[in-house]
Amino acid sequence: MSKTVLKIENLGITFGGLKAVQHLNLEVKEKQLYGLVGPNGAGKTTVFNMLTGVYKPTEGQFFLDGENLTGKSQELINHKGIARTFQNIRLFNNMSVINNVLVGLHNQPEFKCGFFTSVFRFPRHFKAEKAMRERAKEILRIVGLEEERNNLSCNLPYGKQRKLEIARALATNPKLLLLDEPAAGMNPQETADLMSIVRHIRDEYNMTILLIEHDMKFVSGLCDEVTVLNFGTVLAQGETKTALNDPEVVKAYIGG
């Protein structure tokens, strides 16, 4: 049995009386592709926001590789190894594609280069810059954006912007990658393309991936296990096919 990368224990958050998420328990194993699904407003993105430190959970805790990261700052959580993409794309719009990825590489120890090293242009600065660029190109190649590295990121089409967000998250060298609706707004061709990219990332980098997605084909084609949320509580959990066919889940989606 492979080891547990993310362990969530009884996690919950309340916004002024509204219980947005409660009693969430889940475990994601190494190299697993784990899905978080549920109708709109079920609290999926809120879970991501708690896992990345945007919101402080009001109850429960979560562990990355056994280390408790509950309520830590966003920067620290990223340093510890959780990276994410955003549902409503948040790229650095006025920067080029490669610069977006280079920002992701900022904290990698192998490219360490202090403020004064850069300002006084010590040789180390040039070495680090060159190595960073090489790595950034490599990452862009994986998501198929190498050709467009010098374009402004806001000029990319929608689907490519989503891929660039993945590349940027990947650049921070995470242990766990959180993808928030990566296929939203993509056409079937792009979605299929994305599926193979996600698989490739998992295999190549031994990445553990937790993703939110509405496209059920995408989820069932990709994820080994899912958790279904509705109104902040867990409806079903387990192996993808079984969980998605659970009568409660069907009811929540179709109504009745």
Binding site: T45, N49, V54, F86
Partner: protein
């Protein structure tokens, strides 16, 4: 007795600040922008009063003309300078507002020169209540500003248009879907804010008759302080904040040691409030959706 005098003075200054702060807070609530030029509308009102007074001699006609002119000015500025930038970055809007402020000040200086003009509105002397000696002007300002604020509160609470304003400030998109013409509401807000600024200009001239092209700048910033203290976007908050700032100012002027630092003290309060409780006393905390 001196304490009571200071307090009444403070309330009167505060009433003036509150009226300016209302303009800031309503525009901020509805158009989501800091109208940096709002203070300069006071100055425009002041000069309008000056011109009309020179022609007619009646202060109230001056006030009416100032209200009208400032309303037109406010709406024009909104249409020409701010409306094209709706949806642009807040930084761009703020810089434009600074530009408008600069424009109004320099225009006034071109027309009226840089030396201050004197306008004597009403000199009614003092009123004596026992050992209490207060200027009539102070009392008029106090009463008038409270009446205006009361009318405004009732307007927002009980009229269709007023409720539409609240709706637009809560959620512009949703209000539009409910059939509210949000552009018209924004225009109206600028008109009301500018009218209040004109009134504030009148009260300021009653207090001190000197008129210059930068007379609105400092009160404008202080009134913004008041709006922030009360909680930006909140109408009662602006009144409360205005009165608090007025009292702080009146008290600070009374104490010789700190009197020269009065402005600095008010700004320090602003910084502290923004750092400790940016949503102000009566404001709501908003969360950015991620």
């Amino acid at each position: 007795m001196e304490i009571l005098e200071t307090l009444i003075n403070g309330l009167s200054i505060g009433g003036t600040y509150a009226m300016i702060a209302l303009g800031y807070t309503m525009v901020y609530g509805i158009a989501k922008m800091l109208n940096f030029a709002h203070g300069d509308v006071i100055m425009v009102g002041g000069y309008t009063i000056y011109v009309v007074m020179a022609q007619t001699g009646y202060p109230l006609i001056g006030l009416a003309a100032a209200i009208l002119f400032c309303m037109i000015l406010g709406v024009t500025v909104e249409k020409l300078a701010y409306k094209p930038l709706r949806g642009a970055s807040p930084l761009a809007v703020l810089i434009t507002a600074i530009g408008v402020s600069y424009l109004l000040q320099s225009t006034a200086q071109m027309i009226f020169g840089s030396s201050p003009k004197m306008v004597t509105l009403l000199d009614l002397g003092n009123v004596k209540l026992g050992s209490l000696k207060i200027q009539w002007n102070v009392i008029i300002t106090l009463i008038a500003s409270f009446v205006i604020m009361l009318i405004l509160t009732l307007f927002v609470k009980y009229t269709r248009t007023g409720r539409a304003m609240v709706a637009v400030s809560e959620d512009k998109g949703a209000a539009q879907l409910m059939g509210i013409n949000s552009n018209a509401i924004i225009t109206l807000t600028f008109a009301i804010g500018s009218a209040l600024a004109a009134c504030a200009g009148f009260f300021m001239l009653m207090k001190s008759p000197s008129l210059s092209n930068t007379m609105g700048a400092m009160p404008g910033i202080k009134a913004f302080t008041a709006a922030v203290i009360g909680g930006i976007g909140s109408i009662p908050g602006a009144m409360l904040g205005g009165i608090l700032i007025g009292i702080v100012e009146a008290v600070s002027y009374k104490i010789t040691v700190i009197a020269p630092y009065t402005d600095a003290i008010e700004f320090l309060i602003l910084i502290i409030i923004l750092l400790v409780k940016p949503s102000g006393i009566l404001g709501k905390k908003r969360r950015e959706k991620v």
